[in-house]
Symmetry: C2
Subunit: 498 residues, 2 copies
């Protein structure tokens, strides 16, 4: 059971649904390896199992070995070995072509770009037969497969269960589960921004309405921030003509009422600190400390277009232009994890990043100083070490559902480092008051903010960092779970069906 | 006095404000020529003068000869010669560099792109010193010059006047006029879309708030559609924390209440029909009729990124792929007017258009058939002739405040032509029920819609066209003016200051 969460969700069992599950199977030299997922979200969700009367997690069989395991169980749920509360796992095998259409065409980039305002609307996207096919023969049937798997599990549990759906891959699941299991309580947490109504106009009306009707099959739709919940309600009103209550945060769908809620996700401080205390991290710290310059600016991101990596480097370039005294005294270390390399836009974005880094280093660098150091290794121990050592952490995302890097980094930093945080992140609602605000489109402002953060008075740096860390500790991932469990308890008790 | 508009605006005089005024002066071979503006909006606004007790129009001195005339009058207002009600004109001379920053950097592309959702946010725009300078030393001082000119005119008229501001160039005028002339009634009509709050986050908070505070200096802010008015109120609530009433469409600013209104602009049918009856148009009709194929698809647009010209051609390409029987039987005539050639994005867009036309013509064309005919001449007589002859008129704008081409074309067409209209135009609210709807991002849907329109039953074509024309006749530009005058009458009578 996750620390700080009381067992309070009532007597129903739990069915969790996410694309990536709590375990991955691989095969090396003939041996099967079973690895439990690391990372805050998977651990936290697994911890939820302890609050329910039985739990099963429905997820995709992602690796070849996952598929083999799934087939060995004839597609049925199996017990998950290892620590934590008792949890069964049901993996859903997807036909590779449907999986590709579901994941690499429709979910990414189409939905992801819509929800982060990333389309260049005068020219992209083109909705063609390919995109419609990706919905009809990818997203929709994969969602149907998941819904059927969930419904079978709910039925096997006697028809009453709390179903907790994760993220934008499963907008069509709830409606179909509800049709088969009217006594299930359906709770969908969406981890990315929910945009204003006009952003959805990119999709053909039929597809758009199918997605919204699907999501509205839930009892609760939850987000990381109040503005996303509000946008969701405004969409229901404007795009579907439904009656919404912007004060009570509800939308009426036929004779049901769907609640929009927001609970900012967070990290597990104990788990993070334990990971950061490892010898491997200490090795990285020694190496980084030895080669560091006076100032270390850090960013840690998936190489995603929403992260605003180009403007971050342009701002650093501008700061070096404006402050030649900083030459050779500062390094911008960018730990980027490559992402979605099967999607054209991401390949092009990475090329732009590498060209820009070469340009800035060519312009400002010297024989023994590279202003920007780009690392695509994706080693989490390296990340943890860098968290300890930065002077300024840059999170300048264009739009970002939450941004957990901001929360992780302030817990681990040991140099009174300053968090420079985009006002368009979910995290800004909590941490903005003690961060240096970044306006993500404003190169000059970001350059000025970087310089201000680097030259800030030591006392102010310390008090800001301490305040940020205290906020994250008080609003940890256990609280995020508690608030969802409270929703389940309160909202599942009322309404006609319970 | 415009036809159909009763003199009902009360006893105050009128001060009109727009960038382009009702007259342009030029000099050819030593002679000054004074040309009254053509086009529905200028004529309609000039007609407003007859409803007020005196009228003065404040506008920019755009041509060299405008500047000469302005200097001859020492910057003061002068009588406008020619037909129509008595009207004085005051031209504001702008320093060329400030004019460039005001118009070609800040207003276009920055504001225009924000309000049409055209920025490619992962990479553009960069707000740099250049953009901030364009606001500080372009948009803001030009707005101040206009505000001071307006205030002087209001004071000369005794301090009471109705001030009617036009469009997105003058967001800072009302607040400054109100400070000097508290008894003026300020009415701002915005002719382009008003986007959702997140679109405004492209601007630094200081600039964004200055613009909103400026606009909220008005008594009424008016738009072409209810959704723009609603977005405006949502912005006031979300970005400025003001109290709004989404049912009464008002926003409270200190002790004042600002009303959001919407009145769809239209055309003047009589004027348009008179223009279309000219011998020059008849010449164009003969020439077009002689060379036409069985089917004529037409588009008429400024070459603006909001107009969705690329996807229109891609859809036509797809239609030719899907229906080889259409080869050599159809021409897509695109009458495009080049636009904003001093803005990089427009130059690049025109290059993309020309490349795409060459590609499609190379792929489908034959020795004596070019599927797409691109005409950049910008001859309005040619446009009027083409309106008479099209079988399908394509308006597939990404987003468009109103789109008057849709309204003009249905009045003049003589072949039971079908209007294929983007659901993201202001005009769709009125005409959508009798048009073939276009989903502007959906290439396949547009291709299918073009084919459906081209092959539609003659009876259905006729009844749709007649219904569209009847709607435009009933909702003409005189009605647009009447509704604004009614706002002035009703809203200027209440409130503490009158």
């Amino acid at each position: 059971m996750a620390a700080g969460v009381a067992k309070d969700a009532g007597g129903d069992p739990l069915v969790l649904v996410s694309n990536r599950g709590p375990v991955e199977h691989t095969r090396t030299s003939g041996e099967r390896t079973t690895e439990r997922g690391r990372g805050g979200l998977v651990t936290a969700l697994a911890g939820l199992a302890g609050h329910f009367d039985g739990a099963v997690w429905v997820c995709a069989a992602l690796s070849e070995e996952d598929v083999a395991v799934t087939r060995e169980h004839d597609g049925a749920a199996f017990d998950l070995e290892g620590g934590g509360p008792a949890l069964r796992v049901r993996m859903v095998e997807l036909e590779p072509e449907a999986q590709h259409k579901f994941y690499a065409i429709f979910s990414n980039p189409l939905l992801w770009f819509i929800q982060h305002y990333l389309w260049d609307l005068s020219d992209t996207p083109d909705i063609t037969r390919r995109e419609i096919d990706a919905f009809d023969n990818g997203y929709a049937p994969v969602n149907a497969l998941f819904a059927d798997a969930v419904a079978e599990e709910v039925e096997a549990l006697g028809g009453r269960a709390t179903v907790m759906l994760q993220d934008y891959h499963f907008y069509l699941v709830a409606e179909r589960v509800r049709a088969r299991c009217p006594d299930a309580f359906l709770y969908h947490f969406i981890h990315i921004p929910w945009p204003h109504p006009d952003a959805w106009r990119v999709l053909p009306p039929g597809v758009r309405e199918a997605l919204f009707k699907g999501v509205l099959g839930n009892d609760v739709v939850a987000f990381h921030s109040g503005s996303y919940a509000r946008n969701f309600l405004l969409c229901c009103q404007e795009l579907l003509g439904l009656r919404v209550d912007l004060d009570r945060h509800t939308v009426d769908v036929g004779d049901r009422t769907v609640a929009a809620r927001w609970h900012p996700i967070s990290v597990n401080p104990e788990e993070l600190e334990a990971a950061a205390a490892s010898p491997a991290v200490a090795d990285h710290v020694r190496r980084l400390a030895k080669k560091r310059r006076e100032h270390l600016v850090l960013r840690v991101d998936r190489a995603d277009l929403s992260k605003n990596i180009l403007r971050g480097f342009r701002a650093f370039d501008t700061m070096l232009d404006d402050h030649p005294e900083m030459a050779e005294r500062v390094t911008f270390l960018a730990l980027l994890q490559s992402s979605r390399e099967d999607v054209d836009q991401y390949v092009a974005y990475m090329e732009k990043i590498q060209q820009l880094v070469a340009d800035v280093n060519g312009k400002h660098g010297t024989d023994d100083w590279q202003p920007i150091e780009l690392d695509l290794g994706g080693d989490f121990d390296h990340v943890l070490a860098a968290y300890k050592l930065f002077d300024v952490l840059v999170v300048n995302a264009v739009f970002d559902g939450m941004n957990l890097v901001a929360k992780e980094s302030v817990l681990l930093n040991e140099r009174d480092g300053v968090l420079a945080l985009s006002e368009n992140t979910g995290a800004f609602e909590e941490l903005g008051g003690f961060a240096v605000a970044l306006h993500p489109f404003d190169i000059q402002q970001q350059a000025d903010a970087m310089f201000a953060a680097l030259t800030m008075d030591a006392q102010e740096r310390r008090s800001k960092l301490e305040a940020c860390a205290a906020i994250v500790r008080a609003n940890d991932i256990a609280k995020w779970l508690r608030e969802q469990l409270r929703d389940v308890r309160r909202l599942s008790e009322r309404g006609p069906k319970r």
